[in-house]
Symmetry: C2
Subunit: 345 residues, 2 copies
DNA sequence: GTTAGCACTCGAGTTCAAGGAGTGCTAACA
DNA sequence: TGTTAGCACTCCTTGAACTCGAGTGCTAAC
């Protein structure tokens, strides 16, 4: 069987209607809804075909039809209109110039959740590919040393370490020079054992302290291997009856709380380069996170220059407003881009 | 009417039973449950009295009784046995030596939630009363300066600031000395405008840059005025049917997400010094957070030396296991204390 | 003061019928 | 040959009536 133009129009109408109401839609509704001027009987025939083809399904006999995952998929891939919508100017809300990355990301997640009425997540840009820009040890106390490491993208990590024996100003200066000459310009992965050994040797009598220091530096650098994820709008799921029952709500909320469960989403989004826009749509079982099998997930990757890539995700019911979500994410991508660039100036 | 011994025993039995089951408890149950050897009829008479006195109430005629807020209050204040319980050794789980305060607190919240099966929150110790210990400016780039501020308790704040004109090494050194001499040993509140003006003057031709720098420092210091709160176990509320309906669940989850709504709890807990143990119990409407009017909240303050005080909260149904929760919190208090002290070594 | 007994209340759960939305099929129509 | 009207059928939803049982309050007897 072929999906001719009329079938397409009917399917589109079914999906649109279902997106709005969340109720199964019957033939009579469609017959009035569209400009096809067909009777409900004809629509019924077509609907039977569409069901056979797997685009829609009936929750039970004598109920209307709802889109299947396959139907949504078709809709997202080919049937969405690129209708212009007023997207609330998120930038305005964002540019209160949050210096801290963390606050910015939290803010983005929140604004996005308010905007879309879905649950949102955003992963902090991964930085362990970034190069070390600057290292400094300073003495805070007689036996406490503060290590500050700045990497590209102005991400700052720091660590306080206790040393058994007091270091002189001179030693500290030497160590600073040693660390900077060896490590500057290297990415975190490039720092290896051989290099550390070499540095220890050069440090001479202070080699044990260097060891301590380097360990601390390495630790500070590695600290955020497990990526930070911020979420917002979790309780928006209660807006959609199909997700709001105890079982599902509990699972979803758990997923949002145990954020590492969301890493799968981030990996997937970053890995899949198929779409040039960096926007992906996962419908139902397509999503890599088990607890979201009754949801749809839209992810977008963003980039804050210098290769700092992160992922934004919107999680809602299958009948989410794909047009709006995708459009919003696009806008957000460009706005984050602009924000980063004006930031540079 | 007087609350004699028998009435007390019966009330206690009602509460105990209700804590376990969550169901209204009837006279027959009590008559068998206790060692009083009274018939259900007698119990009924006593229950009528207890109801009149306001300790218990009936959801509807012909249902059993449930404790009122007043009943719970009496129970918590006077009737709890200090029965020894096995509290799972949280310390073991904590002492994986989390250097970062943040990770430690998140861990505490999580372990506590797993332990008690309630929702938990923990506020980061407030540091703006603490004294500045160390300030350092370093040049990262031609026109980027890194400001690092360490305050008592080894809390580190940092900020990258852009300067229009490049600063020489010498200027930087001067500025560092200037900042340290003026600000060291002061708490954040003690830094005022007059002092800043004086510093600007001393900086001479660099006064504008000093302004910038000090603004940045002030900003970095003030950054965490709004206190950090970490939560865990939100979805535990679904374990208790009386909290799990859509309306309440949604509100509660929202409160946990919009963490600033929890600040009320923290303020209250820190303010109220009535109990020497630092443990407070809020039942139903007693809680300062509106959305928790159907819950009970137990808070404990903890102290990590050097005046860094924070708050731990456990939020559950009114029929929470007060004994266990309070006991667990006590243990946690001492363990955090020990952890801090071994940390110092 | 305690208890047995009994009538009564009220919610939870079940059954049943009515109502309605929606379907599939058939036959007639253009 | 495609479209449509019509009709019987299915199945969910709603609400009323009913039963059941837990629990109560009250009274009278012990």
């Amino acid at each position: 069987m072929q999906l001719d133009e009329r079938k397409t129009k009917i399917l589109q109408a079914i999906i649109r209607n279902y997106l709005e109401t969340g109720e199964p839609v019957g033939s009579r509704t469609i017959s009035k809804y569209t400009d096809l001027n067909l009777s409900s009987a004809t629509i019924r025939n077509e609907m039977a075909d569409l069901e056979e083809m797997g685009y829609i399904l009936q929750p039970h006999t004598s109920a209307g039809r709802i889109p299947s995952d396959k139907g949504y998929r078709l809709y997202v891939d080919t049937m969405m209109e690129d209708r212009e919508r007023e997207v609330i100017e998120m930038k305005e809300m964002l540019v209160e110039r949050q210096d801290k990355m963390e606050t910015l990301l939290k803010q983005v997640a929140k604004v996005l959740a308010q905007n879309t009425q879905y649950a949102t997540m955003i992963s902090a840009p991964q930085t362990h590919h970034n190069k070390v820009k600057f290292i400094q040890l300073s003495r805070v106390d007689a036996n406490q040393i503060l290590a500050v490491i700045v990497v590209e993208g102005n991400v700052i990590k720091n660590n306080i370490l206790s040393v058994a024996q007091e270091l002189s100003d001179e030693t500290l200066l030497k160590l600073n020079i040693l660390l900077n000459t060896h490590l500057n310009g290297l990415s975190m992965e490039e720092i290896n054992l051989g290099m550390i050994a070499a540095m220890k040797q050069q440090a001479g009598i202070h080699s044990d302290i260097v060891g301590e220091v380097i360990d601390a530096v390495a630790e500070a650098i590695k600290a955020d291997e497990d990526l930070e994820i911020y979420t917002s709008g979790t309780n928006n799921i209660f807006r959609y009856p199909e997700l709001a029952d105890q079982q599902k709500a509990s699972e979803l909320i758990n997923t949002f709380e145990e954020k590492q469960q969301l890493t799968g989403l981030v990996q997937e989004a970053l890995a899949d380069e198929s779409s040039e826009t960096g926007i992906q749509v996962y419908i139902g079982n397509e999503t890599p996170v088990q607890s979201m099998k009754d949801c749809s997930v839209v992810t977008a990757t963003y980039e804050l220059g210098e290769g700092m890539k992160g992922t934004i995700g919107i999680i809602g019911p299958k009948r989410m407003d794909y047009d709006k979500v995708i459009h919003t994410l696009r806008t957000l991508q460009t706005q984050l881009d602009e924000l980063y660039n004006t930031d540079k100036k």
